[in-house]
Each structure stands twice: as structure tokens, then as C-alpha cells.
Symmetry: C2
Subunit: 126 residues, 2 copies
């Protein structure tokens, strides 16, 4: 395992492992949703992102944003005001990732009914 066949111009297993690891860190639910929120609305502050991602807890939002910052997907800007204002913005890297994920979104949107039907059929069979 390691890469789609049409993807690989190299075949260093260590690079494959890194790629898999990176995807593992980046492809979790909350990261995807935050990425989407930022892609959609541009630079935004902490609470606005929280509102844009219903269901996320404050803890998960903080944790996800820190992780994204660490991966280089977002920048974090603290404005020295009272009350504090912290703004998050996608980096070019983050924006590129959002675009890459677009394909997955399209897939989900296009196939939502097929998937629901498959699920219903499977459940009926069991």
C-alpha cells in the first residue's frame, strides 16, 4: 500500500509512509469541516468558526486549529485588543488541500442518494 498507481513517480516506502501518516492527520472529520468553513468564508475568528461548524465543542475546535496550524494549513493572528480577537486564515497549503477535498465533496453530494439506498438495502438484508 502507499499510493494510487497513477500517482507514483517514485516508490520510496518511507515517503509512502509519510504520505499516509500526513493524510491520517489531515483527513479527520473536524479538520475537514473547519477547512471547509475557512474556505467558504475566508479569514475568521475563533467563535465564528465554531458557529460555522455546528456540533464541534470548544475543546475540539481549539485542538483542531492547533493541529492545522502545526501542519501549516492555517495561520493564527492575535490582535492585541480587549476583548482579544484571534483570526484564522487558510495558508496556500490549506487552500490547496481544500481544493483537493472538493473532489470528495462533489462525490458525496453527487452520490448521497446512492449511498443512502445502499445503506438501506444492506440494513434490510441483515
Amino acid at each position: 500500500m502507499g499510493k494510487p498507481p497513477h500517482t507514483s513517480y517514485h516508490s520510496d516506502p518511507r515517503v509512502d509512509a509519510l504520505v499516509d501518516e500526513t493524510i491520517g492527520r489531515v483527513a479527520d472529520k473536524w479538520t475537514l469541516l473547519v477547512l471547509e468553513a475557512l474556505e467558504e468564508a475566508g479569514e475568521q475568528r475563533f467563535s465564528a468558526i465554531g458557529r460555522a461548524v455546528p456540533g464541534i465543542s470548544q475543546k475540539m475546535l481549539t485542538q483542531t486549529l492547533r493541529q492545522m496550524e502545526r501542519e501549516g494549513l492555517v495561520t493564527r493572528t492575535v490582535h492585541a485588543e480587549v476583548p482579544p480577537r484571534v483570526e484564522y486564515r487558510l495558508t496556500v497549503l490549506g487552500h490547496d488541500l481544500a481544493e483537493a477535498f472538493c473532489g470528495v465533496w462533489h462525490w458525496a453530494e453527487r452520490n448521497i442518494e446512492t449511498i443512502e439506498a445502499a445503506r438501506a438495502a444492506f440494513d434490510a438484508r441483515q
Copy 2:
């Protein structure tokens, strides 16, 4: 939240929720790796997939394949032989998803060094 701006031809929040939920189920680590293994090598039996995804336990492989079958991503064919042979194959839906994820793989491959650098810089700063 709900969709990238360039994606949405509708804006039914219930559809958005469904899409997000679907992505949540489909974007987990093992599903991605199994998807990749099947995309790369075509129809394969249980144990071959296990070998193609190093690190996965039998339990997780079974569980992941069941879930993928439920979502309509793979078909499961049992051959009435002794010993039993069970083959898994991507559906069109599954294949399309694999293609959609290709973009993410490309992104990770292209940017692996940028990401590593970002991480190192972040860690040095803390």
C-alpha cells in the same frame, strides 16, 4: 458550514448534514487505506487486502470492509469452496471515491516537505 461555495447548487441544510455525515464515515484512516489497496490491485480476497494494508488487525479489516459494503463502496462475493474464498471489489461508487481522494494524495505527495517544515517550525516555536 456544509459545502464549498463553488460546490453548492442547493443549500438544504439537511443535505449538508448528510454529506458531512457521509464524509465522516468514509474519511477514516482504514477505509482510505483499504480503498487504496483495492484501487491499486483490483478485486482481492480478504487476506490479500490484509497484507496490502500493513498494520491493520483482522478485526479492523472485517469491520472496515463491512462498513464499506454498507456504504456501497465494495461488493463482497463468497465462493462456495473449501477453504472459503471471499473476494472484495470496488463498486463504481467506490472507484469514484478513490479517484476523488487521488487529489488529496497528490496534494500530500506534492507538499510533504512543506508540511514537515511547517511542523518542525511550529514545534521549535513551542
